[in-house]
């Protein structure tokens, strides 16, 4: 489903030049659940952002299915994200001025579906992560775990082909973290492809494949023994 060929990402600022990714090759197949691990600053988020097309590689090729994404213009990428991707972040990134329900509905806002159908899907997504009873709350009225579940509901409401999660449990306690992981695992079971960054070995173990990174390179890739 995903094929990265020697993807490079270099940041050039006035004084310093940082290379976040050196020639990363990566393939992810449909239905996989991949965990990316590595020390802070090794380029995990950068890789995830490139996968999510919210960042562009400075070199290399990125193919998604049959499409060469590096060649697409920004509006086409926006449409691609709206239809294909779901994001989950460490810091939840809910919009403070919107309720849970509205935040979740935002996941459909840019897909042009009909309001009726949208309603039902939003309710269903909230049900799946167990946040329906807080649908009229604002983010600041929720606990961290609840906020992350709302964020996941927003990510899955559009039935994305690929879910990208950047340290989804990083800001959560063990119990809430486990809850979120169970939801993700359930989603994968249901057929969703997931790429997740995590620092927790136990959470990484819940994935089917583990990728280790160091200083902008992929150093190991291993399937979980079942």
């Amino acid at each position: 489903m995903i094929r990265l060929d020697s993807v490079q990402r270099r940041y050039v600022s006035e004084e310093v030049e940082t290379t976040a990714l050196y020639d990363v090759d990566l393939a992810v197949e449909t239905g996989e659940f991949v965990a990316i691990m590595g020390p802070s600053g090794c380029g995990k988020s950068t890789l995830l952002n490139i996968l999510g097309t919210v960042d562009r590689p400075t070199g290399g090729r990125y193919r998604f299915g049959e499409q060469e994404l590096a060649a697409l213009a920004e509006p086409a990428l926006a449409r691609f994200r709206a239809e294909t991707l779901g994001f989950v972040f460490q810091s939840f990134n809910l919009i403070d001025e919107l309720t849970v329900e509205e935040n979740v509905a935002l996941g459909l806002a840019y897909r042009g579906s009909r309001a009726q159908a949208r309603r039902a899907r939003v309710a269903e997504a909230m049900d799946r992560v167990g946040i329906a009873h807080r649908s009229r709350h604002y983010p600041h009225q929720l606990s961290g775990g609840q906020q992350q579940r709302a964020a996941i509901a927003r990510a899955i409401v559009g039935d994305p082909k690929l879910i990208l999660a950047d340290e989804p449990t990083g800001n959560l306690d063990t119990e809430n973290g486990a809850q979120v992981m169970n939801i993700l695992a359930g989603l994968n079971e249901g057929g969703a492809t997931i790429v997740m960054v995590t620092h927790s070995p136990s959470h990484a173990d819940m994935a089917k494949r583990r990728i280790d990174m160091l200083d902008g390179r992929v150093i190991a890739s291993a399937l979980r023994a079942i």
């Binding site: 950068t46 952002n49 999510g52 919210v54 960042d55 562009r56 920004e74 509006p75 926006a78 449409r79 691609f80 994200r81 709206a82 239809e83 991707l85 994001f87 972040f89 810091s91 939840f92 990134n93 809910l94 919009i95 403070d96 001025e97 935002l106 996941g107 806002a109 840019y110 897909r111 983010p139 600041h140 961290g144 906020q147 927003r154 800001n171």
Partner: protein, 805 residues
């Protein structure tokens, strides 16, 4: 404020240089506009306050109350002999008269004559107007009938560096006479209605047949009273005095026709005369309000940008709180910051005002200067006031952020919903005022343009006016000779004589015309004495009947036998006033009681006077020889300036003892429009800058809002929003306050502009176009601003946006 507070302010300002510049710059411009307009208001309202004991001096106004008369209202003049009669009836009264003033006479030197501002005054003039003297004594000099006092400038002009005291000048007011200079007074300041550079003693007898005629107005009379109560009690004694003294000329209850009132001289400058609207007062008040509102807009800007910035500093506030700063300390810190910023802005404003003042002076025909000794303390006061007003809200808002939740993590502060709403309200007020200013500018500019281009009933270009013909020192023989010579000058196609002309000659007459078969005195009409060629010069064609014609000997009013009706030509407006249905109906009819007038023709209305004055119904009489107080209007082809120069040369050869006075009609009419032109320019400058500040504020706020929403934009983009979606979202949110601002601006501007236009008789309609145009402009500005901002934000890579907090 401690060292760290200052340091963090400095960092925060230098990190957001542009916002700091907008914040302080906008306020500086606002303060500069306010300062300059405050100086203007101070100047306009401070007339005569330079005069020692000015609060004891009163001008006697003549107030006319004649039904329908175009001359009703109060005028700053009285009958010449009024003070004599007052002195007889009220012994001990202190008062003086001023006869003449601007262009009040001429100084004769070396065979030529120069016009000078000459006033004849009572010998006790200095008991009322204690002018500062440079040399000689003012209070004794005028007792001698051949003494003169002259101004510094006049002394330099006529005597150079030599001592003027004791030297002689030949001066013509009614007729030439030699005077000996007895003293020199300081030049009169700008802020005075007094206008003279030479003071002469008022002669015992003045060649004016109306000197003791009640109802005439030929001079200014001033009185001094020790207290306001004295002035009031004197004013109460006036009606019986008028009834007693004016009985002969005005009949019973004379004070009901012509009343006398006392006006403190400090108020004279802004007081409307006669039928004039209170345009000067309105202008001063309007520009004062523009200054205040511009300052308000700038303050709103400051508050908006400061509270917006506050959101970005929430983490700093939270950390300070954790470290032990209490709310009071934080409030003090932010108030201190505000006062500091405003102080910088005030300094900037002062510099801008100083730099901009020459421009404003040129635009407004002013000579304002910044009186630093007064302005600096006032500015310090203003700084504290504005600093506290502008700093209070951000200070309270910032210091109230709950530290725990700000630090807790992802929960973004930013003033919350209340802060947003407050900011939106302020934007509405600010933009509403800006839109009202735009509408005002459009209307004012349209009106001044209209006045310049409106059809006056005659062609204003290629028209010259010679006013020195009316000088009493021109003999009738000279007048005839010079008029005949003008007719033969190349470039002059027609010469017309009358006692009225384009731009007004200063001679104004009106009389009641009794209508046959109707009771009462009849309507009041203006009348003009037209001489030869007058209608030719003004290109006037009859609508009905005919014009004056020398072939009809009976047209000439001077040769008319007693009791025979006088032939008149009336204006179109007079047709209805005199009770006729159509112009054709009026022709051949006779109106008037004991002084019968036969209408021979009807002509279009000609507007000679200010567009602010009603163009009254008028009739013309014909004086073939010379009208009284004649002025000449010349129709020319070719360069009017060059022809004016040749007329001047001709005049100086033929009438050397009287200075030439003449101008183009364009220049003369321009003087009628000058005050409004200047007011419009000042308004436009003030309003333009206010709008600019408003735009800067909107820009700053839009950029802050966008920045504040960078995270949201990033989220939306990861969800697939395109750049276009984001721009639309942001514009939609900004357009709402702008549209509400219109609702605020329209009624405000409508009422203000209707009041302003009501001061004009000849005015533009208050078309919805001005409102629509201002709204369109405001929306365009808002949309462009937001597009500029949000395009930048929406183009930013979402990854960056998500990281950005």
């Amino acid at each position: 404020m401690n060292r760290f507070a200052l340091l963090s302010l400095y960092r925060s300002l230098t990190r957001h240089k542009l916002y700091a510049a907008l914040n302080v710059g906008g306020l500086a411009v606002g303060i500069a506009v306010f300062l300059v307009l405050a100086l203007y208001v101070r100047f306009e309202t401070g007339f005569e306050t330079w005069l020692p004991r000015h609060d004891q001096v009163y001008l006697v106004q003549t107030e006319w109350h004649i039904p329908d008369s175009p001359f009703n209202g109060a005028f700053p003049n009285t009958m010449g002999g009024l003070l004599d009669q007052m002195r007889e009836d009220f012994p001990g009264l202190v008062g003086t008269r001023i006869r003449g003033g601007e262009k009040g006479g001429s100084v004769l030197r070396g065979g030529g004559a120069t016009t000078e501002d000459i006033a004849q005054v009572d010998p006790n003039f200095f008991r009322v107007f204690d002018l500062p003297m440079l040399s000689g004594r003012g209070d004794t000099a005028l007792a001698s009938p051949a003494s003169a006092l002259i101004s510094e400038t006049a002394a330099r002009k006529y005597f150079g560096t030599s001592d003027p005291i004791g030297q002689t000048l030949t001066i013509a007011v009614d007729s030439p006479q030699v005077y000996r200079v007895a003293g020199v007074f300081r030049d009169l300041p700008q802020d005075t209605e007094l206008q003279f550079s030479v003071l002469l003693p008022l002669p015992k007898t003045v060649p004016n047949p109306y000197w003791y005629h009640w109802g005439s107005t030929s001079i200014s009379t001033y009185l001094r009273f020790a207290t306001a109560a004295d002035a009031r009690s004197f004013a109460q004694k006036l009606p019986p005095f008028i009834d007693r003294r004016g009985f002969k000329d005005l009949g019973k209850d004379a004070h009901k026709t012509v009343n006398l009132t006392l006006l403190p001289i400090a108020r004279q400058h802004l007081e409307p005369q006669g039928q004039q609207s209170a345009s000067r007062k309105i202008t001063v008040a309007t520009l004062g309000i523009v200054g205040l509102l511009t300052l308000l807009i700038a303050i709103i800007n400051y508050v908006n940008l400061a509270t917006a910035r506050a959101g970005l500093r929430a983490r700093e506030v939270a950390i300070r709180k954790v470290l032990g700063a209490d709310r009071g300390a934080l409030i003090r810190q932010f108030l201190g910051e505000a006062v500091l910023m405003v102080a910088v802005a005030a300094l900037g404003g002062l510099i801008l005002a100083e730099l901009g003042l020459p421009l404003v002076n040129a635009a407004g025909g002013l000579s304002l200067t910044i009186p630093y000794a007064e302005i600096v303390p006032a500015l310090i006061g203003l700084t504290l006031l504005v600093g506290i007003v502008a700093g209070a809200y951000p200070a309270l808002l910032l210091s109230s952020f709950p530290a725990a939740s700000v630090l807790a993590s992802a929960r973004a502060p930013g003033g919350g919903r209340a802060g947003t709403r407050m900011r939106e309200t302020l934007v509405v007020v600010q933009f509403g005022l800006a839109i009202a200013f735009m509408i005002g500018t459009f209307v004012l500019v349209a009106q001044t343009r209209h006045v310049r281009n409106a059809d006056l009933g005659f062609r204003r270009d290629g028209l010259l006016l010679v006013t020195s013909l009316s000088d009493s020192n021109v003999t009738p023989a000279q007048a005839h000779a010079v008029l005949a010579a003008m007719r033969t000058l190349p470039g002059i196609t027609a010469v017309g004589i009358a006692n009225q002309m384009a731009g007004g000659s200063g001679t104004n007459n009106a009389d009641n015309v009794p209508l046959p078969g109707k009771p009462g005195n009849g309507p009041s009409l203006r009348w003009i004495e037209a001489g030869q060629g007058f209608f030719d010069v003004y290109g006037t064609k009859p609508i009905a009947g005919r014009l004056f014609d020398d072939a009809h000997g009976s047209d000439d009013g001077t040769k008319r036998a007693k009791g025979v009706a006088e032939n008149i030509v009336i204006t179109r407006k007079a047709v209805a006033t005199l009770g006729f249905r159509t112009p054709a109906d009026a022709v051949g009819k006779t109106v008037g009681g004991s002084n019968p007038l036969t209408i021979i023709g009807v002509v279009p209305d000609l507007r000679f006077l200010s567009p602010r004055l009603p163009n009254d119904p008028t009739y013309y009489v014909y004086k073939r020889d010379l009208p009284s107080d004649p002025v000449a209007s010349l129709r020319v082809s070719g360069d009017p300036r060059a022809i004016l120069a040749s007329v001047r040369t001709l005049w100086q050869q033929m009438v050397p003892q009287v200075p030439f006075d003449g101008d183009t009609a364009d220049a003369r009419l321009g003087r009628l429009y000058q005050a409004d032109d200047r007011a419009t320019r000042l308004f436009a400058i003030g309003a333009g800058l206010a709008v600019l500040i408003g735009c800067v504020g909107l820009w700053g706020l839009a950029s802050f809002n966008t920045q504040r929403r960078v995270k949201e934009i990033g989220i939306r983009k990861t969800l697939g929003a395109s750049s276009g979606d984001i721009v639309r979202l942001l514009i939609g949110q900004f357009l709402r306050p702008v549209m509400i601002a219109n609702l605020l601006a329209w009624p405000l501007a409508f009422v203000a502009m209707r009041t302003w236009l009501a001061g004009f008789d000849d005015r533009v309609a208050l078309s919805p176009l001005y409102f629509g145009a201002a709204t369109l402009l405001a929306v365009a500005i808002a949309v462009l601003t937001v597009i500029g901002q949000s395009r930048r934000a929406s183009r930013a890579a979402p990854a960056w946006a998500m990281r950005h907090e």
